[in-house]
């Protein structure tokens, strides 16, 4: 993955993770599948990107983690959106709409 792609995806990835967790607490694999589902398969998040992002966001205080049981009674680490995370999601969403609107206008202009 080239560095430009990573930096472009970084903000997007955070936003998508926050958005997935809005629906409720889930583990890493769940987040990953939820993102695939939300974006209609456009974004496939590899564990190598997902876990660093989850841990970073936990350190930022946007999400919190706890150990729980998976559907198949397996011990799994679950993530849950915090208050700060909700605010962050709001802010990120606004920022993203602004950007996509601007980019859209830019591309439509002749």
């Amino acid at each position: 993955m080239s560095p430009e792609q990573t930096s472009l995806l970084q903000g997007t990835l955070d936003l998508l993770i926050l958005k997935s967790l809005r629906a409720g607490e889930m583990h890493g694999l769940g987040v990953s599948r939820r993102i695939e589902q939300l974006t209609g398969g456009t974004f496939v998040v590899k564990p190598g990107s997902l876990f660093p992002a989850l841990h970073r966001m936990e350190e930022e205080g946007w999400i919190s983690a706890f150990w729980g049981e998976s559907e198949n009674n397996r011990r799994a680490k679950y993530y849950r959106l915090s208050k700060a995370g909700e605010k962050q999601l709001e802010a990120e969403t606004k920022r993203w709409s602004r950007i996509s609107l601007a980019i859209g206008q830019a591309l439509e202009a002749s």
Binding site: G28, K46, P47, F51, E60, N72, R75
Partner: protein, 892 residues
């Protein structure tokens, strides 16, 4: 709130590393398990599901490493683990590590020691308030040389310039002082009243000179140094009872200067100048001068200012001629004080910098060799998810560990080295007493170590982490693909090392040959077996008093002759090579009926070019020529018939006879040289003696006029005793005789060989140090060549084995290895010669009797270097010859 969370994570990452890691490990593993279950649910076999899941995950260890790098404080964590890992690695190769640390310690230590000298002598500001505003003021002679100032010229600078807050003249000399605890020979300075204001200094006790103190006929007053006040005056708080007999006259002490103020160097007493009235001549350069620039005035502005005044004087003065100023200039005082020491010290700093580079090159080569052995380890770390940045950091960390330990050891060594440097340094090195390892010097050492670490780490890392690291795994850990590149880099380093060493050794060779040439010079006088005794009597002008001094000298010399072991005794106003030297001036050729009545009439006569001669003026006794072995060429020297009232005679040096009286006999001519001692009687030339190199063996002899000590006694003389006896017993006996004849008269003793040796001090200092650096660089470079070649042969054992198996003879192998080594060496030699040709031009002015491109030195050094390097190649090459093809192939 998020801030608290952050801080908590940071601390947890830092201190609960193990738990955090275990947690991560479980999380990734459970993720993998869930992936497998997911795949199996899709209906594929467990084995296939496992495989698909692992591919999707991309490696448990890699994912973990990526998370770790993302964590808060990960840099701290990884720096710490890099350190631990680096230390472990360095400890695993204790021999190599010790060599690298020692090499760096040598380079950094030597550089730090030399820098401490450069810093203390050249860079450290002078210890005065706003010292950068203090300047030395000079007249510029018609030949463009800076010179001291004549009184009326100084007055004009003081009164007409607008650049100075204060400007003062001064003149320092050694004289006899009594009235304190014991008579001493003390350094005294005559100063004009603004002197202390120039330095921004006020007396600690008492008061400064006022303008009235410096007027003609004022009461004699003196300022004393803090040290003199404590040691010789007993540190009285009340100065009213402190009086000193200086140069025969009584002075009251009116002030004590603060501790540490001694300008000019070593002065203990400051007296007002001009108590006997000012000189009127614009061509008698009696004083040095210093000034404090007004705030905001630059040196360039001050230069313009006084230059304009000087040119006005030049255009309007009635005293035209060679001795009248042509211009004037100011120079920052610091520059002016360190002027002569500057170039030799900078050359020394350059030389030690070269040594450091050679040392670093060796360490770089060792690191490189280690790095290619570590190719496998790097491949594994890279496969486990360490990014290139992380690996580069690892190399940098190791380089830092090495150079910081090396630097610390080096600084310890430098403490010891500085003591040696100060002991070895020439006595005339300014500010030498304050040389030490100070805070700025330590900072320099730290900076240097850091620079070395970055250089070494970056070069090793760049080499070791370039290309595809995983090749290291594929090729069975021998890193063959990589080794050719490393080998080439090793050769480049060797070539650079050889080039630098060559330049350094050539420099040392040129300076060494210069010293040898200087020592070969015939100085024109004898040096050994002479004990010199400095004595000063008060300055007198009265003819009767002068006659009394002549009798005193005659008696003293006669009694010194009686000391057992003393063969002969002579005296002169200064011995050759002595500090200060002889005064020089303009004499006039004239016959007895042309003699002027007063000193002032000289002005008019000195306009006539054909009458003028220029020479050093030396007062000497007849024994002086015998003691120093200065040969009489023609005529006679002084004898007992030359009394105070008989015809005044002079002996001149050969070069003066040749220059001033070409194609005729100088003997019998009469000259007027009364401007030197105030005695206007003509001097009849009666003899011609050999030239002496009075101003150093490397300076040409100067034309000299000798006058008879018993006809024209000089107040300060040096008595030279030629003795076969023990120096100490002669000194003791002479001291006893002087004590008996005049208990108030102090004397200073030294052997003439000490004076001779001191005159070569600066030259010897540089030769010894640069020679030492050159030698060490040569050893390091040899070790470097050996190391690279041994490593190369080791790496090529297999290839050589194949060659031998295919029929290569041992001669072919030898040639092949040596050719590989010599190519780098010869390239290095070529670059080194070109570099040296450029660099040695900067030391041109330090050379004597050799040119900066001296073919002999260049040739000899090249041979030496190529020869040594060849030897260093030969050992590994011989090992290559002995490679047994069977063993070499099986080893593979």
């Amino acid at each position: 709130m998020p801030l608290l969370v952050k801080a908590g994570s940071f601390l947890r990452n830092l201190f609960l590393t193990r738990r955090v890691d275990a947690d991560l490990d479980q999380e990734v593993h459970s993720h993998l398990e869930m992936l497998i279950e997911e795949k199996m649910r899709a209906g594929i076999t467990p084995a296939e599901a496992q495989r698909a899941a692992r591919i999707e995950l991309g490696g448990v260890a890699q994912v973990q490493e990526q998370v770790r790098e993302e964590r808060l404080g990960s840099w701290l964590h990884s720096a710490w683990s890099d350190c631990r890992y680096g230390l472990r690695h360095l400890r695993r190769n204790p021999g190599t590590t010790a060599v690298m640390v020692f090499t760096l310690a040598l380079g950094i230590g030597a550089s730090t020691a030399i820098f401490s000298v450069v810093y203390c002598v050249l860079l450290r500001p002078l210890p005065y308030a706003h010292a950068n505003r203090i300047v030395a003021v000079f007249e510029v002679t018609s030949h463009g040389q800076p010179s001291r100032l004549a009184d009326p010229n100084f007055d004009d600078f003081r009164d007409q310039s607008r650049s100075f807050e204060a400007i003062a003249k001064y003149d320092n000399y050694v004289t006899s002082v009594s009235g304190a605890t014991q008579p001493t020979r003390t350094m005294v300075a005559d100063i004009s009243p603004a002197f202390l204001r120039v330095f921004g200094v006020q007396p600690l006790l008492g008061r400064d000179f006022s303008d009235d103190d410096a007027k003609k006929g004022a009461g004699r007053s003196a300022l004393v140094s803090y040290g003199y006040w404590r040691q010789n005056l007993g540190a009285p708080a009340d100065l009213s009872q402190s009086h000193l007999r200086i140069d025969g006259a009584m002075y009251s002490v009116i002030g004590v200067l603060p501790a540490g103020f001694r300008f000019p160097a070593d002065v203990d007493l400051w007296l007002p100048a001009d108590l006997n009235g000012e000189g009127q001549s614009r061509t008698s350069h009696n004083y040095s001068a210093v000034g404090r620039l007004r705030s905001g005035v630059t040196v360039a502005q001050a230069n313009q200012d006084i230059s304009a005044i000087a040119r006005r004087i030049h255009d309007t003065s009635s005293e035209q001629g060679d001795y009248l100023l042509k211009d004037a200039m100011v120079l920052p005082l610091q520059r002016s004080l360190t002027g002569k020491a500057r170039l030799p010290l900078l050359v020394l700093l350059g030389a030690v910098g070269f040594l450091l580079l050679v040392a670093c090159a060796n360490v770089a080569n060792l690191l490189l060799a280690q790095a290619s052995v570590r190719a496998r380890e790097l491949a594994i770390r890279s496969a486990l998810g360490a990014g290139r940045g992380r690996l580069i950091r690892q190399f940098l960390t190791e380089a830092f560990l090495l150079s910081l330990v090396g630097g610390a050891l080096g600084v310890l060594g430098a403490f010891w080295g500085v003591a040696g440097l100060v002991a070895l340094a020439p006595g005339d090195l300014p500010r030498i007493e304050s040389i030490s390892i100070s805070i700025p010097v330590l900072l320099f050492a730290l900076l240097l170590s850091t620079a070395v670490a970055v250089g070494l780490g970056a070069s090793t890392a760049a080499r070791a982490t370039s290309g595809d690291l995983r090749q290291g795994l594929v090729e069975g850990g021998r890193g063959q693909a990589d080794s050719r590149g490393s080998r080439r880099l090793g050769q480049v380093i060797v070539a650079a090392q050889i080039a630098i060493t060559l330049a350094l050794v050539v420099g040392a060779g040129l300076l060494g040959r210069s010293l040898m040439r200087v020592l070969e010079v015939n100085p024109g006088f004898r040096v050994d077996k002479i004990v010199a005794m400095d004595v000063s009597l008060p300055w007198v002008n009265d003819p009767n008093a002068k006659a009394g001094q002549a009798i005193f000298y005659a008696n003293l010399i006669e009694r010194l002759r009686q000391i057992p072991g003393v063969r002969n005794v002579g005296a002169a106003s200064a011995l050759p090579l002595a500090e200060g030297g002889l005064p020089d001036g303009m004499f006039l050729l004239m016959t007895p009926d042309e003699v002027p009545k007063t000193v002032d009439d000289f002005g008019a006569l000195s306009q006539q070019k054909e009458r003028i001669g220029i020479a050093d003026f030396c007062v000497a006794s007849n024994g002086y020529f015998q003691v120093l072995g200065i040969p009489l060429i023609r005529g006679r020297i002084f004898d007992e018939h030359d009394g105070g009232n008989s015809l005044h005679v002079a002996v001149i040096s050969e070069s003066l006879a040749r220059e001033r009286w070409p194609n005729q006999d100088a003997i019998g001519h009469t000259i007027e040289f009364g401007n030197m001692d105030g005695d206007l009687r003509l001097l009849t030339i009666v003899g011609i003696v050999g030239d002496t190199r009075e101003y150093g063996l490397d300076a040409p002899p100067r034309p000299t006029v000798y006058v008879d000590l018993f006809q024209r006694p000089s107040p300060a003389i040096t008595i030279a005793m030629l003795s076969d006896g023990d120096t100490r017993s002669v000194t003791a006996a002479a001291r006893g005789i002087l004590q008996e004849m005049n208990p108030e008269l102090p004397a200073k003793f030294q052997t003439f060989s000490q004076v001779y040796s001191a005159s070569l001090g600066s030259r010897r200092f540089n030769v010894v140090l640069i020679g030492f650096f050159g030698l060490v660089a040569l050893l390091l470079a040899t070790a470097g060549v050996f190391g690279v070649m041994a490593y190369a042969v080791n790496r090529r054992t297999h290839e050589i084995g194949v060659r031998v198996a295919l029929g290569a003879g041992s001669g072919d192998v030898l040639r092949m290895v040596i050719a590989e080594g010599m190519r780098a060496i010869l390239i290095g030699v070529g670059i080194g010669i070109v570099g040296a040709l450029v660099l040695t031009r900067t030391v041109q002015s330090l050379l004597f009797g050799v040119t900066s491109t001296d073919p002999l030195t260049f040739g000899a050094v090249t041979l030496l270097l190529v020869g040594t390097a060849l030897l260093a190649c030969l050992v590994p090459a011989r090992r290559a010859m002995k490679v047994d093809p069977m063993v070499a192939l099986r080893y593979e």
